[in-house]
């Protein structure tokens, strides 16, 4: 809520304007019964038809004013809600874009998506409704009470006595309701996750004929959502009938006490009639207030989830560290790291790369190859040791400088639903020459030229309309396009066939020889020409050196090499 109020602050002037206009409208609604009572009690006995029409005309004027003011103020409210939501979504999206990888792991992607979509939507609804009803209802409530006070303070006192009970009721109900809505949001998170899994895994599910099982799984999730929502709804549904009962009891008391007061000559029956009109207004606005509570319960649960993300501390802060003079481009100096801060994922990694050199990394699954990249790019912070680029520790390089050094293709990297060109350019304002050279080097020209609209061809979300190999070529072109200082290819040639892979390596050598390259690969042929090859096993270095050196010194390397180069291993 704190964030929300802060976001709304710039709109306070306009909101106040809206509130003032709404206030006028609400006043009109209050005047109407007052005029009515005046008409019946004071004007009618005069038996002057003209006056009756005059006051009646005044009522119509009030009604007109109410119409205009309400429409204007509702539009202002809609405007404020629109702008606030836009801002909240913008802030949230911006924050998510800047979350560290570690924080992304913790929030998880689906949950962040939900916060950005359904939670902001709930907030939008809340702000919009709150302004419309949240102002009108209390004004009518207070105004109604004030009007009744002026009519007959004693009768009003009866009403006022009831209000604390209603307040208590609303408090108790929403105290129980808010946690239920939070729980509901969690359950819908889970349900959405099941749906998403079914979309991404459709082939596997169909292949294994697990459709029925998945239906079952979804029904369970669906069940949870429904039963929680029911519980929350049941809780909230208590408010209205109980409140109605309380208010109507009050009304009966008013008539009862009113009877005595009329009897003692303290009030007139016309006032009781007007009183009852106000009473309807008061009751309706009380109902509106409770409806707002329901909505606010839901909205504030969502606002809380949004705030959780916005409040995430800034991670990976740039620390001032002195530069060391060294000729190597990239240096890993006794680096240790663990994702979970328990078992080490990397232990004592050291290597040095000169500018323009190529490092190949080879190792078993889970041996920590990608982790080296994650640390070099400072997607995570190492636990001990030091990583330097141009002698500068990575922690001391500001993000805008650090990240423009790299061209990178991650495992399972993603394409956006934009044109081919935009997927290569990736928002970086590159020239046509840069893009075409990159595409050519990445061996993508042939397939791009085969497309009807060439570089303007639209790629579907997640690159669904092109093959795995084509995807990878585009990704490599993207990495090369701005001629980065450091090129990182994390297993990015696996979907390329040998010939394409070989051509790629040749092109890199020709056009991008000054780039320091780190290649993670499964195929020996992709890395055997590297200046250095790092063999990783369970987060530790088994060896580093050239192909020839490792063939001599590293048994694991020799085994892999033999198996791949058509040696004694007969493949299945």
């Amino acid at each position: 809520m704190k964030h929300l109020i802060q976001t709304m602050r710039p709109y306070f002037p306009k909101m106040s304007l809206g509130i003032s206009i709404k206030f006028i409208g609400a006043l009109m609604d209050l005047f109407l019964p007052w005029i009515l009572s005046h008409l019946i009690d004071e004007i009618v006995p005069l038996k002057n038809h003209k006056l009756i029409f005059l006051w009646g005309g005044l009522m119509i004027c009030c009604a007109l004013t109410a119409l205009i003011t309400n429409i204007i103020s509702n539009r202002i409210a809609a405007w404020v809600a629109r702008n606030t939501t836009e801002q909240v979504r913008h802030n949230l999206f911006t924050k998510i874009m800047h979350l560290s990888s570690h924080q992304m792991d913790e929030f998880t992607i689906p949950s962040l998506e939900l916060r950005l979509t359904s939670d902001t939507y709930n907030v939008h609804r809340m702000i919009s409704m709150m302004q419309r009803m949240g102002i009108r209802a209390p004004i009518l409530l207070l105004g109604g009470i004030a009007m009744t006070l002026s009519l007959d303070p004693v009768l009003t006192a009866i009403l006022i006595c009831i209000l604390p009970f209603i307040g208590l009721l609303v408090y108790l109900v929403s105290k129980k309701g808010v946690p239920l809505y939070r729980k509901l949001q969690q359950h819908s998170d889970h349900m959405v996750r099941v749906v998403r899994e079914n979309i991404t895994g459709v082939r596997v599910i169909k292949a294994l004929s697990k459709t029925e099982h998945e239906k079952e799984r979804f029904h369970k999730a669906n069940d949870q959502v429904v039963s929680t929502e029911k519980e929350a709804g049941y809780t909230m549904s208590l408010t209205n009938p109980i409140m109605n009962l309380m208010l109507n009891t009050g009304l009966t008391l008013v008539i009862l006490v009113g009877a005595y007061r009329v009897h003692w000559g303290l009030t007139q029956p016309g006032k009781i009639i007007a009183f009852m009109s106000y009473f309807t207004i008061i009751m309706n606005s009380m109902m509106a207030v409770t409806r707002m509570f329901t909505m606010a319960s839901r909205g504030s649960a969502s606002a809380g989830r949004i705030a959780e993300v916005l409040d995430a501390p800034e991670d990976l802060i740039v620390i001032d560290k002195p530069r060391i003079h060294e000729e190597e481009h990239i240096v890993f100096d006794h680096v240790n790291f663990s994702y979970q801060k328990k078992e080490n994922n990397l232990t004592d990694i050291s290597f040095k790369l000169k500018r323009g050199e190529t490092l190949g990394i080879l190792g078993a699954t889970g041996s920590g190859k990608s982790t080296i990249i994650n640390l070099l790019m400072r997607l995570y912070d190492k636990d001990s040791g030091e990583i330097r680029i141009n002698g500068q520790p990575v922690e001391s390089i500001p993000a805008e400088k650090l990240y423009t050094m790299f061209g990178v293709v991650f495992q399972n990297d993603f394409l956006i639903a934009e044109s081919v060109r935009e997927n290569i350019e990736f928002g970086r304002n590159l020239t046509d020459e840069q893009i075409q050279l990159a595409a050519k080097s990445a061996q993508a020209t042939e397939f791009i030229d085969g497309l009807e609209t060439k570089y303007n061809h639209m790629i579907a979300a997640r690159g669904a309309n092109i093959s795995g190999g084509q995807k990878q070529r585009l990704l490599i072109a993207r990495a090369l396009a701005n001629h980065p200082e450091i090129l990182i290819l994390d297993d990015s040639s696996s979907a390329l066939d040998y010939k394409t892979d070989a051509n790629l390596r040749k092109a890199l050598h020709e056009h991008y020889s000054d780039i320091t390259t780190i290649v993670i690969a499964q195929r020996i042929s992709s890395i055997m020409h590297s200046d250095q090859i790092l063999v990783l096993d369970d987060g530790e270095m088994l060896g580093i050196g050239t192909h020839e050196e490792l063939m001599q010194s590293c048994e694991l390397y020799r085994m892999i090499a033999n198996s791949q180069m058509g040696g004694d291993f007969d493949a299945a």
Binding site: M28, T85, S118, A207, L256, Q522, S563
Partner: protein, 588 residues
Amino acid sequence: MPPKGKMEKPKDTKRTLLRLAKYLGHQKYFLLLALILTISSNSLALFGPKISGNAIDAIGTGSAPVDFESVFYYCRMMILFYAGSSMLSLILSRLMIHISQKISYQMRKDLFDKLVELPVGYFDTHPAGDVISRMSYDIDTVNTSLSHDLLQIATSVITVTGSLSMMISLSPKLVLVFAFTVPLSIFVARTMAKRVHPLFGKRSRKLGELNGYVEEIISGQKTIKAYHQEETMIERFDRRNIEAVDAYYDADYYGTMTGPSVMFVNNLSLSLVSMFGSMLFLGNQISLGSLSSFVLYSRKFSGPINEFANIMSDLQSALAAAERVFRLMDQEPELHDKENALHLTEAEGFVDMEHVKFGYLPGKTIIHDLNLHADKGSLVAIVGPTGAGKTTLINLLMRFYDPESGAVKLDDYDLRDLTRKSVRSQYAMVLQDTWLFEGTIFENIAYGKPDATLDEVIAAAKAARIHSTIMRFPNGYDTHLNENGLNISQGQKQMLTIARAMLLDAKMLILDEATSNVDTRTEIEIQKAMRNLMKDKTCFVIAHRLSTIQNADTILVVQAGEIVEQGNHTELLKKNGLYATLYKSQFQ
């Protein structure tokens, strides 16, 4: 709006309403009960003003003494009536929640059941975010509207008819005022609804688009960070965000006019009632108490009409949402199995493709004329440059798609004459895209064989060389994988899916780039296990690594959707064609 759209809109709305009504129909007994409760609770509430009017008449106009006995009597009655009415309305609102939850459960279930029946191609072309948006946001909207509005409509109808008859009984002349104002309200509400309906449709659509974008971009956050393109993406997000909030605003802009407009009509009638009521009072045609009751009833009467306008705008957005839900439900599912489709229990395992022609989109043929014979227990390797159509072959083999012409056959049965389930269950499959779901490692491996014992699962995991890794996780096989699998690498994921395939006792095997994420040392080990697994099985392997395929019985070299070469390793090398070129390039 073009005239054509104008013609179609109401028809769509009618169909949507009809389908919603069908959902309501399932709950007809509950609904009937709700209706009865609504009638009784509102009738009770309706008598309130009448009684209070009587009470006021008993108090008198000031000149006569107060008739306390009657006042007490009427007050007791009021309390009784109001208590009863509150009680009933509590039961009623719970009943309505129950009904609406039943309905949204059913809608989600139907939508999901439909979702899993859709052909795989649907998901290649539709963003998951949009589908999810229909499942959550759109159904929620329908649900909110049903639970709140249905009740309101029922209440409104009863209150309106009830208070109208009360007013008629009090003063038929005064009721004439409403002959003017009611049509006015209805006119206002209808005009607004017509205007607002398309805006609500747009609002849902834009939100769906925004969700699709969010889904896409957030999953690529790491890459965006690596290229320092956060600002670019934020800018693009802002564009869609603005579209979404604008669509919301547009709907609000007109939608929020309805309430005040209808309220104006109400106030107008109040003014008219008081004017003419006063006249009637002067002409001694109505008592003060009756006038007071009449005013209360007129408020009750117009209250629901006012509420009705809000409901209309709610319903508009619910209808738009329901349309989106139904449109997804109307997607063509995978064709049903033929009526007399054969259920193949255990295939021998020979596969034929005869003159297969196929394209994903009509007019875009990517396989022109494919012939292939794979013997029982043979190994077929499919190689070729990227994008040559290798995955398409698998889609045909497993009947994710049917060919345009020609036939795919298993044991000489045309696949179209077999049940899909029996075709697919003949295969164990490991795909390039690893897919794990939220659940334990055990559940993920045993996914294709739910009755698997722990020993079997461990054996499969050992065969896939992932057992020792699993044991290193804090909870071993009970380790819970969340969707992002934060502590598990791509290669480990792949091995889990291999273990999953190993557990199946299938006659045939499909490996689509199955080991592309597994490093070579592991691959060597896996393939040792694979070779045991593949014994006596017909295997289709797509791989780029020539070492994995050179021992295949048949190698299919695919280029541009055509099989350009077919033969074993030695034969193909001798041919000195595309295969030979591909093979040699690995040593360059």
